[in-house]
C-alpha cells in the first residue's frame, strides 16, 4: 500500500508539469494582454509594464523563469492585483471556497445518505417517495435557477438571509443550500440503489437466516458496499466544490477560487490562472488518491498495488 501511494505521488509530478505547461502556453496564445484596458496608454508606458513583469523577454525565458519560481513554490505576482502575490489571492479564494464547499459536502452527505437508506428500506412509503421526488427536483433544477429562487424567497420577501455577500455565518446559508441541492439527490439515489442491490445479495439472506439483528445487517453488511459508489462519486466532486463553483460564486458574490479564476481568465492574468489551475489539479489528484485508499479500506476485494 505504501509503495502504491508513493508511486501515485511520483506519477502526479509529470502530470502536473504537463498541465501547467499546457496552461502556460494556452493562456499566452489567447489574444489580449494583462494590462489592456479600453483606454490605450502610450507605447512607452506599455513597455514599462511589460518590463516590470518580465513580459518583454522571449517565451522560453518567461517559461524557464516561471518553472524556476514554481520549484520554490513562488507563483509570482498577480497582474490584476499588482500589490498582491498569486499565493495570497489563492489563499484568499480558499478562505471562501473551503467553508462553502465543505459545508455543502457535509450537508449533501448528511441528508443524502439517510435519505437513500430510508428509500431503500421503504421503497413504497409515500412520504419517502415524495422526499425523493423533491431531491430529484434538486438535481434537475440548475443552480442558477435555484439560487435566485432561494434569494427571492428568503432575502427579498422574508428578509431572513442576505441575498449575497461574504464574511458572516448568515452569508453561508443560501449558497450552501443551493450548492448541496444537486448533490443531496445524487447521493441519495446512489445510496438507495447501492443498498437495494446489497440487500438482494445472498450473504444478506444468510445473515438474516443466522439471526443477525436487522440494524447490524444494514449498517455492517449492506451499507458498506453501497458506500463504495457514493465514495467514488463524491471524491472528485469534493475537489470541484473546493476549487470553487463559478455560478454560485457569481450569483452570491462570493470571493472564492472560482470567482478569481473567471476574473483572471477575463483579465489575462497569466500567473493567477496558472496558480489556480495548479491548485485545482493538485486537489483533484490528492482527493482521487484518498478515494482509492478509502475504497481499498472499505472493500476487501480491492487490493492496492497488487497486480492481478
Amino acid at each position: 500500500m505504501r509503495g502504491y501511494i508513493l508511486r501515485r505521488i511520483l506519477l502526479a509530478i509529470p502530470l502536473l508539469w504537463l498541465i501547467l505547461t499546457l496552461t502556460f502556453f494556452v493562456v499566452r496564445w489567447a489574444p489580449g494582454k494583462p494590462f489592456r484596458r479600453e483606454r490605450a496608454v502610450p507605447a512607452e508606458i506599455e513597455a514599462h509594464l511589460d518590463r516590470h513583469y518580465g513580459l518583454d523577454k522571449p517565451w522560453y525565458v518567461q517559461y524557464a523563469n516561471y518553472m524556476r519560481g514554481l520549484v520554490r513554490l513562488d507563483f509570482g505576482p498577480s497582474y490584476r492585483y499588482p500589490d498582491a502575490t498569486v499565493g495570497e489571492i489563492v489563499r484568499q479564494g480558499l478562505r471562501a471556497s473551503v467553508p462553502i464547499g465543505l459545508a455543502a459536502y457535509a450537508l449533501a452527505l448528511g441528508l443524502g445518505l439517510p435519505l437513500g437508506v430510508l428509500a431503500a428500506l421503504h421503497p413504497h412509503s409515500a412520504w419517502v417517495r415524495a422526499v425523493m421526488g423533491l431531491a430529484v427536483l434538486g438535481v434537475v433544477t440548475p443552480n442558477f435557477v435555484l439560487g435566485p429562487l432561494l434569494v427571492l424567497l428568503f432575502s427579498l420577501t422574508l428578509y431572513w438571509f442576505p441575498p449575497a455577500g461574504w464574511g458572516e455565518a448568515r452569508h453561508l446559508v443560501l449558497p450552501v443550500l443551493t450548492l448541496s441541492a444537486a448533490y443531496v439527490a445524487y447521493i441519495a439515489r446512489l445510496t438507495q440503489s447501492g443498498v437495494q442491490q446489497a440487500l438482494a445479495q445472498d450473504y444478506i439472506r444468510t445473515a438474516h437466516a443466522k439471526g443477525v439483528h436487522p440494524r447490524a445487517i444494514l449498517l455492517r453488511h449492506a451499507l458498506r458496499p453501497a458506500l463504495l459508489s457514493v465514495l467514488s462519486f463524491t471524491g472528485p466532486s469534493l475537489a470541484f466544490l473546493l476549487a470553487g463553483t463559478v455560478v454560485i460564486e457569481k450569483i452570491f458574490a462570493i470571493p472564492g477560487l472560482g470567482h478569481f479564476f473567471v476574473q483572471a481568465a477575463l483579465n489575462r492574468d497569466y500567473t493567477l490562472i496558472l496558480g489556480i489551475v495548479s491548485f485545482t489539479a493538485i486537489a483533484l489528484i490528492v482527493l482521487n488518491l484518498l478515494v482509492d485508499i478509502a475504497i481499498a479500506l472499505l472493500d476487501p476485494r480491492v487490493a492496492l498495488g497488487r497486480e492481478g
Binding site: 494582454k33 516590470h52 442558477f144 435566485p148 427571492l152 449575497a164 455577500g165 464574511g167 470571493p255 470567482h259
Partner: protein
C-alpha cells in the same frame, strides 16, 4: 447563461414589486455612521500610481488628498492640501501654498517635498504607472517617463522648439536615425528637423527625475513648471495619480506598502481592510487636518459586479449607494419611478470607429452615408432608455457652456442614400461591412439596431455583426482588423482635451488609421494657448475637422445612473461619477419621507 439568470430573476423581481413604493426596498439606515458602496469591481491596487481606473480612483481619492479636491457637485478643483495658489499669465508656472496643518496618518506633516517625490515616482519608468501620461503636461515629465530626448543648440544653450514654441522631443529611434542620416523620406517632420539641425551645432539631452518641472521652494511652497500653457492644470492636480504617496512606507515595504498594516495616508480616511473579492474598508482618519468636517466613521466598498446581485443587495438594505452603471437594463424603467434613482450627464461618448484605411470606408461619402442613416433618437428612446442623449459630435458635452461644441451629425436617410449612390453603391449594392463589438452591456442590441437602420436605408447593404470577448476585441481593434467597431471613451478630467487628444494621428487611442495634419495642428495650437476662451475655440475647430471627415461616427452621450438610499447625503450625480466621501454623510434622523434632493 448569464442572460438567462438575468431574465429569470428580472421577471421574478419585477413581479415582486408590482405595487410601486416610493423607494426600492429597505430604507432603514445601518447602525452607526457607515456607508456601504457598491463599487462595481475589485480595485486592482490602492497605490495611486498603479491604480488604473475609476474603480480604484473612487477609493484612492479618499485615502490620499491632493493639492486640490473635487467639488462634490461641479467637480471644480477646491483647496485641499494646497490652501492657495498662483498662476502666471501664460499658465505655464503654478505656485501652490500648502497648508501647514496637513498631516500623514503617522503624524508627519505633508510637505512640498512629498509632492516632488510622488510625482517623480509616478513618472519613473520602474514604477510602470499606467497613468503616468496624465503628468506629461509638466515640464520634462514625458521625456523622463518615455526616455525621449530633447535637442539643445550648443551655441545658445536653448532647446529647439516646434512651430508652436513647444520643445522638440525625439524617441531614441528617431535620434539614431538622424545621427546615422538614415531618415526615411516619408517621415517629413524628421527630414525637416535634420535640415534644421545641419545649421546648428546640437546635442541630444536625456532628462532625469531632477529635470522634471516640480520643485519645493520650502516645506510649504511647491512650484510647477509646465511643458506648455495648461489652463486646466488644477483639474489634473485633483486626479489620483497626482496625489502624494508616503516615501517612508514605500521605501520600507516595497510592493506591500498599501497593506493596511503598512500604509500611511494623508486623506480624510485610512485603510483598515482590503480583502480582494470581498471588500475594502476605510475608517475616518483622526489626524486629517479637516477631520471635524468628515461625518462618516466608516466606508465599505464592495466589488460586486453582477447587476442582479447588486440590485438584490441594495433592495435588501445591504448597500446604501451604488456607483454609476451597475443597474441591469431590464429593471431600468421600473427603477426610474423610484425615489432612489439618480441620473445626470456623464462625460462618456459612445461611437463607432471607422477603419479609414479600407476601401470603401476610405471614401468620406460612405462614412457620412452610414452616419446619416442611424436614427439615434429612436435608439436612445427605445433601447437605452436611461436618458442617453443622441450625439452629433465626438465630445459628449459643452462643458458647462464653456466649449462651443460643434454638433454636425444627424439623421437624414434621404441624403445618406444620395451620398452612397454618388460613392458608387446605390441602395448599398456591393457594400459589405464587418461590425465588431464586444460581449457585454447592450453592445449587441445597439449593433443590431444600427444594422437595422442601415438595412432600412440601404436595402442591399450587407452588414456582418462580429461579437468578441473583451480582450480579444481590444486586440482586434488595436491591430486595426475591423471595418466598423463600437467604442466608448470616458474623460479622465472634465475638459474637451481629454477626448480630442485621443484622435491625434499619434494617439494610441486612434486605431482608425485617420491622420489629418489640420486636426493635429489645431489641437497643438490649442494646447499651446493660455487664453481659455481661445483655446476652447481652437479645440472646437479641431472637432469640426474631425466631424467633416468622420473617422468616428457619433452615437450617443451617456448618463450616470445609480441608486441612493434616502438617508445618504452629499453623494451627487456628477459628470465623472466621482464621490469624495469627505462630503458624504448618513443621516439617521429627520429623513423626510419625500426626500429626493441632493
Amino acid at each position: 447563461m448569464k442572460r438567462l439568470v438575468c431574465i429569470g430573476v428580472g421577471l421574478l423581481l419585477l413581479g415582486s414589486c408590482a405595487h410601486p413604493a416610493a423607494y426600492f426596498g429597505k430604507i432603514e439606515p445601518p447602525e452607526g455612521a457607515v456607508l456601504r458602496v457598491g463599487n462595481g469591481a475589485d480595485p486592482a491596487s490602492l497605490d495611486p500610481h498603479r491604480a488604473p481606473g475609476s474603480v480604484e480612483e473612487q477609493i484612492v481619492i479618499n485615502l490620499f488628498e491632493g493639492l486640490t479636491e473635487y467639488d462634490p457637485v461641479t467637480l471644480d478643483p477646491i483647496p485641499a492640501v494646497a490652501e492657495a495658489w498662483e498662476v502666471n499669465e501664460h499658465a505655464t508656472r503654478f505656485r501652490f501654498r500648502l497648508r501647514r496643518t496637513a498631516r500623514w496618518s503617522n503624524g508627519r506633516p505633508v510637505t512640498a517635498w512629498d509632492f516632488v517625490y510622488s510625482w517623480r515616482r509616478a513618472l519613473a519608468p520602474e514604477t510602470a504607472s499606467p497613468n503616468a501620461y496624465l503628468l506629461y503636461y509638466i515640464k520634462n515629465a514625458e521625456a523622463y517617463n518615455t526616455g525621449k530626448v530633447k535637442v539643445r543648440d550648443r551655441r545658445t544653450g536653448r532647446f529647439l522648439t516646434d512651430v508652436f514654441g513647444r520643445e522638440l522631443m525625439l524617441t531614441p529611434d528617431e535620434l539614431r536615425r538622424i545621427r546615422r542620416e538614415d531618415v526615411p523620406s516619408e517621415a517629413r517632420h524628421l527630414q525637416e528637423l535634420r535640415r534644421r539641425l545641419n545649421d546648428h551645432p546640437w546635442e541630444a539631452v536625456t532628462l532625469s527625475a531632477e529635470d522634471v518641472g516640480v520643485r519645493a521652494l520650502d516645506d510649504a511652497t511647491l512650484e510647477v513648471e509646465m511643458e506648455a500653457p495648461t489652463a486646466f492644470f488644477l483639474k489634473l492636480t485633483t486626479l489620483g495619480v497626482y496625489r502624494p504617496v508616503p516615501r517612508e512606507a514605500i521605501e520600507r515595504y516595497g510592493r506591500a506598502w498599501t497593506r493596511p498594516e503598512h500604509i500611511v495616508s494623508n486623506g480624510p480616511f485610512r485603510l483598515v481592510e482590503f480583502t480582494p473579492g470581498r471588500r475594502v474598508v476605510l475608517e475616518k482618519n483622526p489626524l486629517y487636518w479637516d477631520a471635524a468636517r468628515v461625518r462618516l466613521q466608516r466606508a465599505i466598498f464592495y466589488p460586486y459586479d453582477e447587476a442582479t446581485t447588486v440590485l438584490n443587495l441594495y433592495k435588501a438594505g445591504e448597500l446604501d449607494v451604488l456607483v454609476s452603471g451597475l443597474l441591469p437594463p431590464y429593471a431600468l424603467r421600473r427603477l426610474q419611478q423610484k425615489r432612489d434613482y439618480v441620473s445626470g450627464p456623464y462625460l462618456l461618448s459612445y461611437f463607432l470607429l471607422v477603419n479609414v484605411r479600407r476601401p470603401p470606408l476610405s471614401d468620406r461619402r460612405v462614412r457620412w452615408a452610414l452616419a446619416l442613416s442611424i436614427d439615434r433618437e429612436r435608439l436612445c428612446r427605445r433601447l437605452l432608455a436611461a436618458g442617453q442623449q443622441p450625439s452629433g459630435a465626438f465630445t459628449p458635452s459643452d462643458f458647462q457652456g464653456k466649449y462651443p461644441r460643434p454638433s454636425k451629425v444627424g439623421y437624414d436617410p434621404e441624403r445618406a442614400r444620395q451620398l452612397l449612390a454618388a460613392a458608387g453603391y446605390p441602395e448599398g449594392r456591393g457594400l459589405r461591412l464587418r461590425f465588431l463589438y464586444n460581449t457585454g452591456a447592450l453592445h449587441a442590441q445597439i449593433a443590431e439596431a444600427i444594422q437595422a437602420d442601415w438595412r432600412r436605408t440601404f436595402p442591399l447593404i450587407r452588414v456582418e455583426l462580429i461579437n468578441q470577448e473583451w480582450q480579444v476585441y481590444l486586440n482586434t481593434v488595436r491591430l486595426g482588423d475591423f471595418d466598423i467597431a463600437r467604442r466608448s471613451f470616458s474623460a479622465d478630467f472634465s475638459d474637451p482635451t481629454s477626448f480630442l487628444d485621443s484622435m491625434l494621428s499619434t494617439s494610441p487611442n486612434n486605431p482608425t488609421g485617420w491622420a489629418n495634419p489640420e486636426y493635429d495642428r489645431f489641437i497643438q495650437q490649442a494646447n499651446a494657448t493660455s487664453d481659455d476662451h481661445r483655446r476652447m475655440a481652437l479645440l472646437a475647430r479641431a472637432e469640426e475637422v474631425l466631424l467633416d471627415d468622420l473617422p468616428i461616427i457619433p452615437i450617443y452621450s451617456s448618463v450616470t445612473n445609480f441608486l441612493r438610499k434616502p438617508y445618504v447625503r452629499g453623494w451627487h450625480a456628477n459628470v465623472l461619477d466621482r464621490h469624495p466621501l469627505k462630503f458624504v454623510a448618513v443621516e439617521r434622523e429627520g429623513t423626510p419621507p419625500g426626500f429626493s434632493g441632493r
